[in-house]
């Protein structure tokens, strides 16, 4: 196989394998896999900002929540059906990212992390402040009528799995195409050496803003899909925890690799599920999932800052996109 065909073949094989897995797995693990796929879309968006463009954000929960609530509230109050609600969610994520980016991208590094964190926190508090509309901490359940796309009811298993896989496949292929495009190379140039790319005539602000907006579109899509597929919208999606999770997935799978975010999300779910299984044997481990997340973060930054696929790419698999 030629060097340019390999990546495409790998991505198609992954999508195919996931389709088979969703078809043959029993309902509980299959539903979990659908959740992983939706969160992987979120992480892929995060990866475009952090892994490729070098923008370490602590505020992506805001973009996710924008998607969740744009879809959820429009379904709840305007009776929007799932298709338009999803589209609205995508746009809300992108719009929110544009608004945050216009201000936050004037800073860099640690300041950028804190500014995005503060915006996300303000967003979370705003959702709580308007509790009577947003449901506050409790959230709300989406009306069943709004969870239908093209006649398929998303509250039943098969359509839900197909929709999750479809969204994931689009996200994966778009991100593959994007990082191999000239624009993708400009994104990497921002990460590697912003000053030099400025001298080559690339405007760093424009590239970074565009990357952040694309990242926000992914987050919005994931948020809206999560609300529509699993029927729930709540303020917890805006908590800092949902900014940390995609970072963790990306760091674990490999920042700046297209499949890394999915791999990281999958492994983290397996790890946490494994811990809660063990907790049934040893009750000491009860509710230790956050401990696992914390330990994973520390171990990753200390010993494997490039993540799994990043390390593999370093060790010979150079063609990994």
């Amino acid at each position: 196989m030629g060097e340019s065909v390999k990546p495409f073949a790998l991505h198609l094989a992954l999508i195919l394998a996931l389709a088979v897995a969703l078809a043959v797995l029993p309902p509980y693990p299959a539903t979990m896999l659908a959740r992983i796929l939706v969160l992987a879309v979120f992480a892929m968006g995060y990866n475009l900002a952090y892994g490729y463009t070098g923008l370490l954000s602590l505020g992506h929960a805001l973009f996710l929540a924008a998607g969740v609530f744009a879809a959820g509230l429009s379904a709840q109050f305007w009776g929007l059906s799932a298709g338009p609600a999803l589209l609205l969610g995508v746009l809300a994520g992108g719009g929110m990212a544009a608004a945050v980016g216009l201000l936050a991208l004037r800073t860099a590094g640690v300041s950028f992390m804190i500014v995005t964190l503060m915006f996300a926190q303000a967003g979370y508090l705003t959702i709580l402040y308007f509790g009577p509309i947003t449901g506050g901490d409790e959230g709300f359940t989406l009306p069943a009528a709004s969870r239908v796309i093209l006649g398929f009811d998303m509250s039943t298993d098969t359509p839900r799995f197909v929709a999750a896989l479809f969204l994931f496949a689009i996200g994966l292929l778009v991100s593959l195409a994007l990082v191999r495009s000239p624009f993708g190379r400009s994104m990497v140039a921002m990460r590697e050496n912003e000053e030099r790319s400025r001298m080559l005539g690339i405007n760093p602000f424009t590239v970074k803003l565009a990357a952040l907006v694309i990242s926000g579109l992914y987050a919005g899509a994931a948020g809206a899909a999560y609300a529509l597929l699993f029927g729930y919208a709540g303020a917890n999606f805006a908590t800092i925890q949902y900014s940390i999770l995609p970072m963790l997935y990306v760091l674990l799978g490999g920042a700046g690799t297209t499949i890394g975010p999915f791999l990281g999300a999958l492994l983290m779910f397996v790890l946490i599920e494994g811990t809660s299984r063990l907790a049934r044997l040893w009750p000491v481990l009860e509710g230790m999932d956050y401990f696992v997340i914390g330990a994973a973060l520390v171990v990753l930054v200390l010993f494997a800052p490039r993540g799994i696929l990043g390390t593999l790419r370093e060790r010979g698999l150079k063609w990994l996109p």
């Binding site: 640690v110 926190q121 508090l125 956050y290 997340i293 520390v298 200390l302």
Partner: protein, 292 residues
């Protein structure tokens, strides 16, 4: 109650918040100033201080005042040792890279929180105040302990200031802050300075936690709000500037007291977080900092 006394009450509550905040935030500010790192686990150290104060209070068979005094010494020391270990095992190996440190301290925060949940449980537990004193104003009675907190915080901050400006250790820390390479060239063990600074910062957070626990119960998630507010204070005051931190703590504490009393606490926090984001974007040196 008329508006005047109401405002007075709001300002007094705000002053207590400001005192505790100044203490916690000065620790964060110290870390940023000397080590150029942001410690996300700072709120967890605050929480550990409070929880350890409860533990000491329930173990030591002494009158509340003595038990509290013991907690005031033991809790910050234990937290400082934990911080020193974390510094040696994690932060030092990361070479204090700013972004990696944030990620690692997020991990540390989760681990401390979850370990506390496992060992201490999900309940909030009260600690008896070291003394019972009620100051009677014409319009309302006020807890004497709360005023003690303000005085204690002021004394600690004064001691910190004297330590930084009047002792050799403080001089070494300031030298490291200005130029770590030059400090190393002059034979200063920068690694030890960093470990000491990290421990001192954590101890300040823990001390704030001990002081607050008779007012607010000890709970494993209590570190979130102080962390956020400390961030706000440190940024508005100018990263690394102790004086700026204290001024900012007063402003944020008092306005938080007033806005929370007359409007809503959530609204007060929304305004403060947005303000901080704007300050970082448009005035990165802080409102009072001279330059970055």
């Amino acid at each position: 109650m008329a508006f005047g006394p109401f405002l007075l009450l709001a300002l007094m509550e705000g002053l207590v918040t400001a005192a505790v905040l100044a203490l916690a935030a000065s620790g964060l500010s110290l870390l940023f100033g000397v080590m150029r790192v942001v410690n996300v686990a700072h709120g967890a150290f605050f929480m550990l201080g409070a929880v350890l104060a409860w533990a000491v209070d329930s173990v030591v068979p002494a009158p509340p005042a003595l038990a509290f005094l013991a907690a005031l010494v033991i809790a910050p020391l234990l937290v400082a040792s934990l911080a020193a270990v974390a510094d040696g095992l994690i932060l030092k190996r990361l070479n204090y890279d700013p972004e990696a440190t944030i990620v690692a301290t997020i991990g540390l925060l989760y681990m401390i929180q979850q370990a506390t949940l496992a060992l201490y449980g999900p309940n909030a537990n009260p600690v008896t105040a070291p003394f019972e004193l009620r100051l009677q104003f014409p319009w309302f009675g006020y807890s004497g302990y709360k005023l003690f907190v303000v005085v204690a915080a002021a004394l600690v901050l004064l001691a910190l200031w004297a330590f930084m400006t009047r002792t050799k250790a403080g001089l070494i820390m300031r030298a490291t802050q200005v130029d770590r390479t030059m400090a190393r060239a002059f034979g200063i063990n920068v690694d030890r300075v960093y470990m000491g600074t990290f421990a001192l910062g954590a101890a300040l957070a823990a001390l704030a936690g001990v002081l607050i626990v008779p007012i607010q119960q000890a709970h494993y998630l209590m570190g979130g709000d102080p962390l956020l507010l400390s961030f706000i204070v440190v940024i508005i005051g100018g990263l690394g500037s102790l004086r700026g931190t204290i001024v900012a703590a007063l402003i944020i504490g008092l306005s938080d007291g007033v806005i929370s009393m007359f409007f809503s606490p959530t609204l007060a926090k929304i305004i403060a977080t947005l303000l901080v984001a704007m300050v970082l974007v448009f005035r990165p040196q802080g409102l009072f900092g001279a330059k970055a």
